[in-house]
């Protein structure tokens, strides 16, 4: 409220000598507090209205708390305002019997992550745990401090004078100008800025020091002079300036114009959601080790994409790909943030290692990571829906915008996925949706679990909620009457097979006693003036396949040693998701050996070549089948030995086969059949299948402060036949909580004046903590159905991304609670709630007299201190 701890002097002066328990005293103090804390709209730190409302609200709460201890007229007392939210002990249930019907020896059974014990004892090795190499240098990037500027000069002389600083590397040290460019599918980003910077945090060069501290000190001593250029940060600014990348996509199905003419109602809306920082616990890290011969280089990079890493390292070092090995043991989390953005650091380290002929290591500080590595795309959707009077949607028209940042990265594919998910789970006969990427001066936004899917699905649930409010029909009903039925076609002409959303919707309603609890919530809200509860049940479908067709392939290499032990390599990276666990299970089941006999050591480009990134929830499907394929080849060769020695262990079989000169290695391969969508034509199959789910959530909000708590969530997912229920539950719970963070506490903010991102670490960027999860947290897997058309390995479904959107159930439950809160004060117009629903947004969306008197309007030309891009 001020630059120092201050007392509310007007309020204190007023209060002395007044009769405390009196409405006039309360009113007088509130007036005085308005003077004491008269924050301007552009106050440093932002949130003027919210902060003012808290100052007033705290006094209001205190006043009534004091009164409750005195004998006063009950009409003077507002007892509901006193209590604050306190959590109960967390609890939850999982259905541990879900896979009983189809369990095999190993597949389908619950077992822990194969590296869990190594991780829990500190023995698991991550990139920066690799011991220091002889003569190693540490890199520290020199990053632009300007969002958009010409570089006038870069002076490194002071840095190079610092003891321990060894060298400075920038674009001049690359083999040719073309080597400075990277990025896929569009190669439009520079490793090192040349002449101009387009975002704050763009690398200009890298200082190499003997220690990290010395490199950091050197980095700080580099002097860069800039000349400012105009800056675009937000989507709204980009739209106004028509600053877009060329990529433009649309899906047109049916005739929206005709349908709007016949619709009973047409509603329009603008929905906005913020991005999300990946906040993997392990920041980007790399160790690049040049080899003495033939320009070879070995690179340990924390990446989801060893092949792309290899490609660009070859480029910056001027070597052929066969001289570069890119290796990954494991990642401390990826979530899409290391799918492409890791290439930046790897390329820079490799260029530095190539120049100095010394190993170069860099693990980014958390702020550097956030500054350089991109986030989930913020999205803006301007939509129009035509609806019958019963609430059936007949047409959807939408313009969708994503903030791509200063380069394209994967933005094109992200926008495409938002367009293919903007139908939610709802059958809309006429659709016309268009997607563009805003070109701005922010960090280049990138893949993040869900990859545009959650943003498209969010728009769907926004128009569903707003239609429900316009028509005064419960949202649950609007969802039910618009829901796809089995055999329906999506707007991109894909027939829904093995479609279980309607079934799960019904099951979750029943299993969570949703309707009964809904009644209890109505009752609670009648009895509470300040504390409100809300509920929502949100369904999801998520299309599994890379939308770039060529990525839907995978390879594997299986060796059986003649002691019977098996080494598997495949193209997927272990980033905590349990991929290697599932893969060892598949190999063990296929080879009929114990799981302990199968080992996966690492992912490397010299064992499996030309791999796709570990992404799109498809890695188990793709690599699993490739491994299975390799095992089948070996099984074929081992057949005579199995016949000869029935029931013998692999050691005996392999030993015998080896002495008969039988090849005990196989290279497996797989590519996804059937798919191949053509944009524009709207033809061909986009996804191999859809992973599905339904979540019901209940929340409680404290309307006086915007504080809130998730009371209960019930999640059901259709994962097909699970390969390992423990791993799948882990993915569901983890993605759900990450999704809850996306839609509630996680808010990236930029400092408007400098154009720099402000939220650079856990201090001001809040991912959910232990005590933010649903107090009651129940998860189950769909069972007792058949998956006739699912042709994946084990008939299982990809699960990494699909549950993330389930976290939005909390957002829509908050929205529901806000509806009640606003109704309490007679406000019934339709609420357009921006995501994330932070305590600030919750509070200022209320309509009580305290927040109304706290509202701060901008003066002419006054801008907020922070801005969400």
């Amino acid at each position: 409220m001020a630059a120092l701890t201050v007392s509310a002097q007007n309020a204190e002066a007023f209060l002395v000598g007044q009769k405390f328990p009196s409405p006039a005293t309360l009113e007088g103090v509130m007036n005085a507090l308005e003077q004491d804390f008269n924050l301007p709209f552009g106050v440093p730190g932002g949130m003027a209205t919210y902060r003012k409302s808290l100052a007033l609200g705290f006094f209001y709460r205190f006043y009534h708390d004091v009164l409750s201890g005195l004998q006063v007229k009950s009409s003077d007392l507002d007892p509901d305002v006193i209590a604050e939210i306190e959590r109960a002990i967390s609890s939850g249930k999982q259905d541990n019997e879900a896979s009983v019907a189809y369990q095999q020896k190993i597949l389908g059974k619950a077992s822990p992550h194969v590296a869990a014990l190594k991780q829990a004892t500190g023995q698991a090795q991550y990139t920066d745990d690799i011991p220091v190499q002889q003569n190693e240098l540490f890199g520290c990037m020199v990053l632009s401090t300007k969002a958009h500027a010409k570089i006038l000069s870069v002076d490194v002389s002071a840095a190079l004078d610092i003891p321990g600083v060894v060298d400075y590397v920038d674009h001049n040290d690359l083999p040719n100008a073309a080597a400075n460019w990277w990025g896929a599918p569009v190669c439009d980003e520079k490793f090192f800025a040349v002449d101009e910077v387009n975002t704050a945090g763009q690398p200009i060069g890298v200082i190499l020091g003997i220690t990290a501290k010395q490199a950091e000190e050197g980095m700080r001593a580099v002097k860069v002079e800039y000349e400012d250029l105009p800056v675009i940060l937000t989507m709204e600014e980009a739209i106004e300036a028509e600053s877009f990348f060329e990529h433009y996509r649309y899906i047109v199905d049916g005739d929206t114009e005709a349908a709007f003419k016949e619709a009973d109602h047409i509603f329009t809306g603008v929905s906005r959601m913020g991005g999300q920082e990946h906040f993997y616990l392990e920041t980007q890290a790399c160790v690049a080790i040049p080899k003495p011969e033939d320009g070879e280089m070995e690179v340990w990079s924390g990446t989801q994409n060893p092949t792309e890493t290899q490609t660009y390292i070859a480029k910056v070092t001027g070597a052929a790909a066969n001289k570069v090995v890119s290796r990954v043991k494991r990642l401390g989390g990826g979530f899409g943030g290391k799918e492409t953005r890791s290439v930046q650091l790897a390329g820079i380290c490799a260029a530095a290692a190539h120049k100095t002929r010394r190993p170069v290591r860099c693990m980014l500080n958390r702020d550097e990571d956030i500054l350089t590595s991109g986030q989930r795309h913020p999205f803006l959707g301007k939509w129009k829906v035509g609806v019958t009077k019963e609430g059936k949607i007949v047409a959807l028209d939408a313009d969708v915008y994503a903030n791509g940042g200063h380069t394209q990265d994967l933005s094109g594919a992200v926008v495409e996925r938002s367009l293919s998910h903007i139908d939610g789970v709802y059958h809309i006969p006429n659709v016309n949706v268009r997607g563009r990427i805003c070109k701005t001066n922010t960090v280049s936004n990138t893949a993040f679990r869900g990859f545009g899917g959650p943003q498209g699905l969010f728009f769907a649930e926004c128009y569903i909620s707003e239609i429900a409010d316009h028509l005064n029909i419960p949202a649950e009903e609007i969802r039910a009457i618009n829901m796809y039925q089995p055999g329906d076609k999506t707007h991109f002409n894909q027939i829904l097979k093995d479609w279980y959303v309607p079934l799960m919707y019904k099951q979750v309603l029943e299993e969570s006693n949703y309707m009964e609890r809904r009644k209890a919530v109505e009752e609670y809200n009648k009895q509470h003036k300040w504390s409100k509860r809300g509920m929502a049940i949100v369904p999801t479908k998520f299309g599994i396949s890379f939308t770039a067709l060529f990525l839907n392939q995978a390879g594997a290499l299986v060796h059986i040693y003649h002691d019977g032990s098996v080494l598997v390599a495949h193209g997927g990276v272990e980033m905590g998701q349990g991929l290697h666990t599932k893969m060892t299970m598949i190999a063990a089941e296929a080879l009929q050996i114990p799981q302990e006999d199968v080992y996966i050591s690492e992912t490397a480009t010299n064992t499996v070549a030309n791999t796709s990134s570990t992404a799109a929830s498809a890695s188990s499907d793709l690599n699993g089948y490739a491994i299975f394929n390799a095992c089948e080849q070996i099984n074929e060769r081992l057949k005579p030995y199995r016949e000869k020695f029935p029931g013998a262990p692999m050691s005996k079989l392999a030993h015998a086969a080896y002495f008969d000169r039988v090849n005990l290695s196989a290279n497996g391969y797989y590519r996804t059949p059937d798919i191949g969508y053509v944009w524009g034509e709207n033809s061909g199959q986009m996804f191999f299948y859809f992973t599905q789910g339904v979540t019901a959530s209940e929340v409680q909000i404290d309307t006086l402060t915007g504080d809130w708590t998730p009371l209960r969530s019930d999640i059901k997912m259709d994962v097909g036949r699970t390969i390992n229920p423990s791993i799948d539950y882990g993915q569901i719970e983890g993605a759900y909580v990450q999704g809850q963070g996306l839609f509630t506490t996680e808010e990236s903010l930029w400092h408007r004046a400098s154009g720099q991102i402000f939220t650079r670490g856990p201090g001001n960027y809040k991912i959910p903590g232990f005590r933010d999860i649903p107090q009651i947290f129940n998860v189950s897997l769909l069972k007792d159905v058949e998956w006739e058309n699912l042709r994946t390995i084990q008939r299982s479904r990809g699960i990494g991304e699909p549950p993330l959107f389930m976290g939005s159930a909390v957002f829509f439950a908050i929205r529901d609670a806000l509806k009640h809160a606003r109704k309490e004060w007679g406000v019934t117009d339709v609420l357009s709630l921006v995501s994330p629903a932070t305590p600030e947004r919750i509070r200022v969306s209320c309509a009580d007299p305290i927040v109304e008197r706290a509202r701060v309007q901008p003066k002419e030309g006054e801008k907020s201190f922070f801005v969400a891009i």
Binding site: A3, S90, A116, Q119, G578, T705, G761, D772
Partner: protein, 481 residues
């Protein structure tokens, strides 16, 4: 006026005049002596800028991870066992190794995730978190395990509630926390039958049927409490507090000597008496005083601040005492916030709920003040000297009319908290003085006092607004000054 803590009013006069730090510290030792995972370590050549985390990773203990370098994620959590000068008892403090200066572990026992078990012989915590699916990418796991380890070392039979709250300084991005909490709750006093002393000796039922699991997991077990088993736990090892790493006997006798170490760029001073500290301050008022380093290390790391002369205060017992007086609590300004929580709980008990309102308010604010790892090292003095407007503690101290006792070689100065803050990070503390203690008055009859905080996230978050409100109602319920 009551005497200050640990130093007599006239002691200042006894302080000998010295003119340079070199002269003052001529006889001071330059060697750190501590234990790591049960092994004695002596260090006399150390870069004064290294943190505990850098030191540990540098000697190959890479199980402890760097996640954020600002004490906000808990990936670097280790346990520092020491004899707490406030309680005189052994305390196993979970701390953020990314913030802790190495000098702060002299005379203490540092326990890392490698020290408590390995894959062949995991600690029960490690085993249960792993088998219970509490580790996905695993980067947060060592820190989470050490937080739970600290909890169990301090209390082998924690309540469900204690377990639930034990992780407010840890973040995980993968699991959604539920499996970690389930694994952790298997150690609470309802689920772990074992070693609670009230159970009578060593009688862990794990020994039943030849080690076939805990009685609480079988129907034949204790029927009194119905305990829901959330995941299969057939062969879990019991947690036995008697077989944990012991607090090294040598450390019980460790002589805390004044230390000076470092080089031209940076020197660390570790005085062990108030007198030594006051002398340093009198000769060199710019010396940076550091308690938990939870603020300073962030300034060094992210704001490139340089403190050439740093003074570690954690081992000066005189600044870590407390005393109940009839109408106020006097508390040493350098008690840890964890201790302050406990002291306030005692104060509420002693003064009763009406007179104890200020202490209840402090306790409430501390509940949502940073994470446990920070509260284990941070102090009221740090809050006050930093004078950050976001401190959750400062509004209470102002609103209660607390008096701050500043000390220098020249004597004591009593500063009302209402006059202490002068501007953004500016205070009325004289440059040669240190914050010695706080006198927090009890609430008088007719007084009401509450504190509030709102942040984006409940645990471990900076307040958007925090407030302490106090009113004293006199005749006819009219507020009075």
């Amino acid at each position: 006026m009551a005497p200050g803590i640990g130093i007599h009013e006239d002691s200042a006069a006894a302080v000998e005049k010295v003119t340079s730090l070199a002269q003052l510290t001529e006889d001071w030792d330059d060697t750190l002596r501590f234990y790591v995972n049960g092994t004695k370590v002596t260090v006399d050549t150390v870069n004064p800028e290294v943190t505990l985390l850098e030191y540990l990773r540098g000697i190959g203990l890479t199980g402890t991870k760097l996640g954020c370098a600002e004490g906000g994620c808990g990936a670097c959590t280790v346990v520092v066992s020491h004899i707490n000068p406030t309680t005189k008892k052994i305390y196993h403090a979970s701390v953020n190794a990314c913030l802790a200066p190495l000098v702060s572990v002299d005379g203490k026992h540092v326990i890392t995730v490698e020290g408590i078990g390995n894959v062949k012989d995991p600690h029960p915590i490690q085993e249960r978190i792993a088998v219970g699916n509490g580790s996905q990418c695993g980067f947060c796991t060592p820190g989470i395990i050490m937080s739970l380890y600290a909890l169990l070392r301090n209390d082998p039979s924690p309540s469900e509630h204690d377990v639930e709250e034990a992780f407010d300084g840890n973040l995980c991005r993968c699991t959604g926390y539920r499996p970690i909490l389930d694994a952790a709750q298997s150690f609470n006093k309802n689920n772990s039958c074992g070693m609670a002393s009230s159970n009578g000796g060593s009688g862990c039922c794990m020994e039943k049927n030849g080690g076939g699991g805990c009685c609480k997991g079988s129907s034949a077990g204790n029927q009194d409490e119905k305990v829901e088993i959330k995941f299969p736990q057939p062969d879990f090892k019991p947690y036995n507090p008697d077989t944990q790493l012991i607090f090294p006997a040598a450390l019980r006798k460790h002589e805390f000597r004044p230390l000076v170490l470092g080089n031209k760029r940076k020197k660390w001073y570790r005085p062990v008496t108030l007198e030594q500290l006051l002398q340093i301050k009198s000769i060199h008022p710019e010396a940076k005083l550091i308690g938990g380093s939870s603020e300073t290390q962030i300034e060094i790391k992210f704001k490139a601040m340089r403190y050439a002369c740093s003074v570690y205060l954690g081992d000066i017992p005189e600044l870590r005492q407390f005393e109940f007086h009839d109408d106020y609590l006097e508390v040493g300004a350098n008690v840890s916030l964890t201790d302050l929580e406990n002291i306030c709980a005692l104060a509420v008990e002693r003064y009763g709920s009406a007179a104890g309102q200020p202490f209840a308010a402090i306790k409430k604010q501390l509940h949502y003040f940073a994470g446990r790892q920070i509260r284990n090292v941070a102090s009221p003095a740090g809050n006050l000297a930093t004078a950050s407007p976001i401190s959750d503690l400062n509004p209470i101290l102002v609103s209660t009319n607390t008096t701050l006792i500043a000390k220098s070689v020249g004597g004591d100065k009593h500063i009302p908290m209402t006059e202490f803050f002068l501007g953004y990070r500016k205070t009325a503390l004289p440059p040669d003085s240190i914050i010695a203690s706080l006198r927090i008055p009890i609430a008088q009859k007719g007084e009401y006092m509450r504190a509030y905080k709102q942040a984006k996230r409940k645990d471990d978050d900076i307040a958007i607004v925090n407030a302490a409100l106090r009113v004293s109602l006199g005749d006819q319920r009219r507020p009075q000054l």
